[in-house]
Amino acid sequence: MRRLGELLAPVALVLGAALLGAVVSASTQTYFVDTLVKVTIVVALYLFIGNSGVLSFGHVSFVAIGAWTAGVLSVPAQEKPAIMPNLAHFLRTTTVGNVPSLALAALAGLVLALLVGLPLMRLSGLAAGIATFGVLEIADNMLRYYEKIGPGLNAFSSVPETTGVWQAAIGALLAIGLAFAYQRSRFGRMLRATREDPAAASAAGISVYRQRLLAFALSGGVAGFAGGLYVHLLPLNIDSLYLDLTFITLAMLVVGGSGSLLGAVVGALAVSGLDSFLAAAENGVDVLGLHLDLPAGTSLIVVGVVMAAVLVLRPSGLTGGRELRLPGRRPAPPSAAEAA
């Protein structure tokens, strides 16, 4: 039961953020909901990057696919011709509710991640990380121009805005629960063994390829789910699901510490808080009696500096890649499975 701290600390943080978000004014609330969706995306990133030690620049493409799936399927039928005039017949005539659209978004992310993972996970770690850029480019290119499957360059207006504080919080909690269950499972342990020493893990009979593929597909599913949540929050367009989002979510993971679930959540909350504050300050804000009015674009600079500084000064992130352990009787010797 001591290990429950691993789950409880991230859950408590998310609940805290949701409660805070529920009591603030409606305009501030958007920032909290946005933050909770980002938590879900970063947990998806963590599920793969944290456990495997392999970078992925491609996860935002799974977020985008999820957003497209949920968005296209939940725009009311009579409004589809206005924003998506060239939609394929099946998509034009099919409309589903909130929960099924989220489930289908997760499924779409999972299937896509599995398909692209089949070739990419065979690469060595660093090469795999770079090659995931290819996935991002393909997804961006197809969604941008292929108007049979979505709005192309238009924004997803008239998607029912069902992602409020509670839907976002439940989504983030589901993602955290899945990530926790995965990292405690034998598959999660095997993948972390390959992260520490691929050669030794292979020698112990672990297929590096299969374990990475499994985690990649799972985290693609979570990312797709997060995309579904996202499109039910804001009228997204393809530009909001490309390099900027890739950068900011990776920054969150790295700042928090990519080695732990707690790190993913802490990083997402901390960087989101900073980013939201700076975004507000770009429009002018009063802090402690001072009027702050920053030029547009400052927030990416500050986040970039913070990320670089954390990497240089504390490469394992704010949490040091550790989970919170509740105090218990035994002084936690590393178990045999973890040492392997």
């Binding site: 070739p119 060595s124 660093l126 090469a127 770079i130 197809m142 600079i301 670089a308 990497l311 240089v312």
Partner: protein, 302 residues
């Protein structure tokens, strides 16, 4: 489709060769630093972007072409040395994944700074525009820059080959790329080798900046960002761990990109990135260790 592929004009072929040459230079620039530092520099594109802004400002101030090129070299070299001191050096002992994320952050930082300082609309670098006009060779129009780029890329690769095989510092760089620890034990000075690699890679970035700016005179904050992503894919396609295959990979993806761009029918040309990256992924499915590497490719174990 077949007809379209066969129907490649001389202009397209020259452009594709030129793009291949430029991408090969970028691949070498990234590969040299990777060789000694195990660091994939995602911010390489932003070095090129800085050089392009230098050219744009020089032409805005009415400087002659050669002065703009000098300024471009100065800016790019200064920035690449600064990048090495401030970011690469403190991170030298970290894993390649951490270093890649760090350079990703630097890339975004530089891009945001450019956005803030110079605005999103971009600047025009016009002083080298005459190079973009066509030369007529036996009835075929070929842009001068295509020829210049092919010649310059070939010359740079040749000089680099001489540097790596005929000079002491080149030998040290190759030794460091093979096994940095042992090379240091044998008296190779780490900072000298890394400094050398960073400088040469900076020179190549400046050369690439000039070439790309002539072809595309509108300099925006995301200048060369797409190119960097394509070149990185090319480097992985060729084989990340070996310099020559990596360079060939850079050339191959540039050439393929140029040919595809010319051969695709107009209504499909917007899907060029999809075709290109799908091809990369398919090739990697068959040859995970790279297109131009022989044998299994050693697993890194350190």
């Amino acid at each position: 489709m077949t007809v379209a592929i066969l129907n490649v004009s001389w202009q397209t072929l020259a452009d594709a060769l030129a793009l291949g040459g430029v991408y090969a230079l970028m691949a070498v620039g990234i590969g040299l630093v990777f060789g000694v530092l195990r660091l994939v520099n995602f911010a390489y594109g932003q070095l090129i972007m800085a050089g392009a802004y230098a050219l744009a400002f020089a032409s805005q101030w009415g400087w002659p072409g050669w002065a703009g090129i000098l300024l471009c070299f100065a800016v790019v070299l200064a920035l690449s040395v600064a990048m090495d001191r401030l970011v690469f050096r403190p991170l030298r002992t970290q894993s390649p994944a951490v270093m890649l994320v760090a350079t990703f952050a630097v890339a975004f930082l530089l891009q945001s700074i450019a956005l803030l300082a110079f605005g999103p609309l971009g600047k025009i670098a016009s002083s080298l525009a005459p190079l973009n006009r066509p030369w007529t060779i036996s009835g075929v129009d070929i842009r001068k820059i295509a020829i210049v780029a092919i010649v310059v890329a070939a010359a740079c690769l040749l000089l680099l080959q001489l540097l790596l095989t005929r000079t002491a510092v080149g030998l040290q760089m190759r030794a460091a790329a093979m096994d940095f620890g042992t090379a240091r034990l044998l008296g190779v000075r780490a900072n000298r080798v890394i400094g050398g690699a960073v400088l040469v890679s900076g020179v190549l970035a400046a050369v690439v900046a000039v070439m790309l700016t002539v072809q595309n005179p509108l300099v925006t904050p995301d200048f060369a960002l797409r190119d960097t992503i394509v070149v990185l894919a090319g480097v992985v396609l060729g084989g990340l761990n070996r310099p020559v295959p990596a360079t060939l990979g850079g050339f191959a993806i540039g050439f393929a990109s140029g040919i595809l761009g010319g051969a695709l029918p107009t209504n499909q040309s917007q899907y060029l990135p999809t075709f290109l990256f799908a091809a990369v992924i398919l090739v990697l499915l068959v040859r995970p260790n790279g297109l131009f590497t022989r044998g299994g490719g050693a697993v890194e174990r350190v």
